[in-house]
């Protein structure tokens, strides 16, 4: 930022030079015209002409550097700013993204950011040059004839009063326009994501109607803004015109009475003309600043959002952490309780669980029992309370976040993929692309046959969100992604839901040797997915209702046995039918 400050200062110096030189030409003009009153040598006229041209060339060079430095810097700041916002977004936790709408965030990173840039570049440039022009041209006018200057500038205070009155409205109205644009974007975004459902249920027309309503509201708000705006610009022109009238009327009288020369009069009116454009630009600049301030406010809302989950004072230093290595992968939940919002709605309570390094744990239970939450606490996608979750006896909240996550292979429910190639998706967690690792992971995930059947193999592009793959293929691909990093801890969050039982069996068979030395947690709705694990828990309403091996749990004749029996029974019942 400091480098930018220096650049901006240099740019402002050029701006000052540009504006000062721009005042010299009218001055030469004045002398030229005054000289015409008497008898003048045509050679002198040529000199005047050459001087005007020469001064303007110098002014042109200054203007080039002014624009290049000031506007260019604003673009560079925009670039940095966008990177910073994106980097900040990367630190925000899941809970933020659940609440915030993607379309909304995007509009802040693009439209709002541009509005801010407009302030930093053209905004500052025009504002400062307007000020300089006002001061210098105004000063020269006073120098030429202070009385006339005073009178010619009468409309200005009037103007500033009106501007102050209008700007608050401009601000509110343009805020309202932006808000509606964001709402409309969010609507369209959702519509496009759900287009299949809309088409399947033939709801296109209703959606178009709804969109039209949003669109209509947008028009209404834009027009409300235009009403003010339409008044703003002509008013600026009017004010400068009024100044000119005063100069002609009163200045003309002074010329007649011999108080000032005709040359003074002409120079005076050309200084006033010099102020016309900045005065109009001022209105535009005011608009820029309004928009920019509103946009900056929205961006700050993102930047001010604390990363809910990050390293802090309790986090171990790199040295302390590496002294603890190597980790074995023992996991302990110690009286763990967790709630998303407030203690009244506990999702998990009093979880006590010790998981030996290298063992596997199956987690089953009804919908909403907290299974997913439990495993999401380990990579701190949601943050557990301090002192309740440990790896190898170390509180996970004191492990540096990156180090913690590098230990974990996480396979989410929805199998989210990036629109890269299959190979790139598998190596998402690796430093570099490693064909051997890709193939290993793909083999365990039962992807080899299908992927090698694609003409481009591992270089096949996955469509956005993996739409060109089936649900099962996506899940297997996201399993491969987790396996490729050879994690110490593997978490499968209901990751086989779209995979058929046969393929699942094959995967588990190959997975077994792979997870020998790894701690593995598997959430599932299917008994078949977990029955082979070392240890199984049944979660019910956020508590561990049952725990044991498959055999033990069946012998316990509790919920697990019931789930298992029901599954068997339903099948048998149908069979008998």
């Amino acid at each position: 930022m400091l480098a930018y400050r220096r650049r901006i200062i240099i740019g402002l110096v050029f701006l000052l030079l540009t504006n000062i030189t721009s005042l010299i030409a009218p001055l030469i003009l004045k002398y030229a015209i005054d000289s015409l009153r008497g008898s003048v040598d045509p050679a002198l006229l040529l000199k005047y002409a050459a001087a005007i041209l020469g001064v303007t060339v110098i002014q042109g060079i200054f203007r080039y550097y002014m624009r290049w430095i000031l506007i260019g810097t604003s673009r560079r700041i925009e670039y940095d700013f966008r990177n910073n916002i994106f980097a900040h977004l990367q630190t925000l936790s899941r809970s933020y993204f659940i609440k915030a709408k993607t379309g909304d965030i995007m509009s802040r990173l693009t439209n709002d950011l541009n509005a801010v840039r407009m302030v930093l570049g053209p905004g500052i440039m025009h504002l400062v040059s307007t000020l300089i022009l006002f001061i210098t041209a105004g000063g020269l006018m006073f120098y030429l004839n202070w009385k006339l200057a005073l009178l010619a500038l009468i409309p200005l205070p009037l103007l500033s009063l009106i501007i102050r009155f209008l700007t608050q409205r401009l601000y509110n109205y343009s805020e309202a326009v932006q808000a509606q644009l964001a709402r409309m974007s969010a609507f369209a975004q959702e519509n496009l994501s759900g287009i299949r459902i809309i088409q399947a249920f033939v709801r296109e027309r209703a959606q178009v109607e709804q969109f039209k309503q949003q669109n209509q509201e947008y028009l209404k708000r834009n027009m409300r803004l235009a009403h003010i705006w339409g008044f703003f610009l002509p008013l600026m022109m009017f004010t400068s015109g009024l100044g000119l009238v005063i100069v002609i009327w009163l200045g003309g009288r002074q010329v007649i009475s011999g108080e000032i020369s005709l040359g003074d009069f002409v120079a005076f009116s050309s200084y006033l003309a010099l102020l016309t454009f900045p005065m109009m630009a001022l209105g535009w600049v005011v608009n820029l600043f309004q928009r920019g301030a509103a946009a900056m406010g929205r961006i700050n809302k993102i930047l001010d959002t604390e990363p809910g989950i990050s390293d802090n004072a309790q986090t171990l230093s790199a040295v302390e952490f590496s002294s603890l290595k190597p980790f074995k992968g023992e996991i302990e939940f110690r009286h763990l309780s967790f709630s998303y919002n407030g203690p009244d709605s506990q999702v998990l309570s009093g979880i006590n669980l010790q998981l030996e390094a290298g063992s596997s744990l199956g987690i089953v239970g009804p919908v909403g029992a907290g299974k997913s939450t439990l495993v999401n606490l380990i990579p701190r996608i949601f943050d557990p309370p301090a002192g309740q979750l440990f790896i190898d006896g170390v509180d996970i909240k004191s492990i540096p976040l990156d180090e913690l996550r590098k230990m974990i292979g996480y396979v989410p429910q929805d199998g989210f993929l990036f629109s890269e190639t299959i190979g790139e998706n598998i190596t998402h967690g690796l430093e570099r692309r490693d064909m051997q690792k890709i193939q290993e992971a793909a083999a365990i995930s039962q992807l080899t046959r299908e992927v090698e059947g694609f003409p481009q193999g591992y270089d096949t592009l996955v469509g956005e969100r993996g739409v060109t793959l089936s649900g099962g293929q996506r899940q297997r691909l996201s399993l491969a992604r987790a396996l490729a990093i050879k994690p110490l801890i593997l978490i499968l969050d209901d990751s086989f839901s779209n995979i058929d039982v046969y393929t699942e069996g094959e995967i588990i068979q190959r997975l077994t040797p792979f997870i020998k030395s790894r701690t593995c947690l598997i959430v599932s709705h299917r008994i078949s997915t977990v029955q082979w694990t070392d240890h199984i828990i049944v979660l019910d309403e956020g508590k561990i209702a049952e725990a044991g091996t498959h055999r033990e749990l069946i012998d316990q004749a509790g919920i697990y046995a019931k789930l298992y029996r029901r599954q068997l029974m339903l099948e048998k019942l149908e069979q008998v039918k």
């Binding site: 995007m106 669109n215 009017f238 010329v255 629109s419 956005e464 060109t468």
Partner: protein, 589 residues
Amino acid sequence: MRYHHFEGQEAGQIYDWQLIKRLSRYLSPYKYYFISALALLFLGSLLGLVGPYLTKVAIDTYIQQQNISGLNFIALLFIGVILLELAVRYGQIQIMQYTGQRVMQDLRAGLFSHLQRMTPKFYDKQSVGGVMSRLIGDIEVLNEMVTSGVVSMLGDLFMLLGIMGVLLWLNYKLALVVFSVLPLIFYAAQVFRKKVRESFRQIRARMAKINAFLQENLGGMTIVQAFCRQQKNLEQFKKINGDYLDSYLKTVFYYALFFPAIEITTALAMALIIWYGGGQVLQGALTFGVLVAFIEYTQRFFRPINDLSEKYNILQSAMAAAERVFNLLDTDPDISSPDKTQELEQFSKTIEFKQVWFAYSGDEHVLADISFSISKGESVALVGLTGAGKTSIISLLARFYEPSRGQIMIDGYDVRQLNLKQWRSKISLVSQEPFLFSGDILSNIRLGREDISPACVEQAAREVNAHQFISQLPKGYYEPIQERGANLSAGQRQLITFARALVFDPQLLILDEATSSVDSQTEALIQDALEKLLRGRTSIVIAHRLSTIQRANKIIVLDKGKIVEQGSHQELLTRQGIYYWLHQLQFKD
């Protein structure tokens, strides 16, 4: 696509004209507004020209002849003129804004409707972020063109011509001397336009890239974080963001060069006026007032040119945006109703697949030679391993895609002959992943169909066992749903989509793997719901659980895109083929 044949400067102009012509077609409903705005614009420019002339008259006629009452008159006249100009310009801006806003509104609504007709095939290839930047970003740029008054460029043009006329009228010799710098200006403008045009295209394309990247990364942030990819993705982002910066810096450079060039040319014109015009004044061939008027007009002459180039920036973006919007509008939905459709009031007999082949792209057939039929009232189950082609079959049936070979017949008519919307309205689809819209539960079940009463919705919800959890929500059926249904469990989301399917009372129910990701308890609820949903209804069901398909009249076993077995549950079991095997596996300990 059809615009891409044009290249280079010459063609670029033709091409801009085509875009402008097409844009102006959207203007035609508002042509009276537009014409009156133009008239006001013209009047405004004219009034703008009066000022310097009044100054000239003031100097030559009154000041130099010491006529104070004449000066008073001129001052009053001047005030009248600027007041009138104020009113005219205000009116012009209002009308122009209104017109422009209406055109943008129509264009946006038109594009949105068009997008509603595009098939999943289109969305498979296009990222939602990319389409969004057409619908919102690009049209917003066009809007910018309107609001920033690019249309008033026409006014600038009037102004330019007017000034030229006045100068010629005042003194044609001096005017021609001033005009001698014009070729310089046109040359500079030409070079500038060419350069800026290219870089603005680049800028828009790179912005779209940024959008697509953001869209995806914000959606998959959990994965990015879980795999510690922040640094790498930030690097990627910096790269595309940097490309965007580079192309912008190029335009900054062109602008930084162009403005001084215009200024210097203006100064050249001024110098000529002083040197040549001054000489004329000395010789008495020119009055002093005319010289001053020339100076003032020349200053005004170059301002519109400056303005034009400043706005050229916006115009360029707008043209590029218009091009992209029109390209999208010109992309025909690859599936639509034929001109003459076969009306099918009621599905009454059979659905038949006749030797259907299908590939999502190229020759990779995911379905090969599929033939089967479903009679009205029958329930058919599709069974097979993942990737066997089950989802493709139902996508074809709902006409999300077209078969590459073969036919799908409905009551003896090729499905392609049927009215697309009429056919789809006979279907309810429960997709693999329950998709919920923001809005409340009620609107998610009836999907905005106001003719379905809340009571009907509740009844459907009761049928599919969704009523219980819905009624426990704080606002019941009016409970708002967060983005993608984040505040409901997977099972609850599924039950809602069941209620949705039921409330539309379909003649054909399509169910895609809907029984997969719920626990056994919820599954019992779902099984019960399914029982009611399927009873007496023609249906085609995909499920991994054999229990849900055993009630089917017919089971079709698929493998690698081919039908390998077909028959009833019992028949298939006794055959001891793939089905038998799948069935055994389910019970393996």
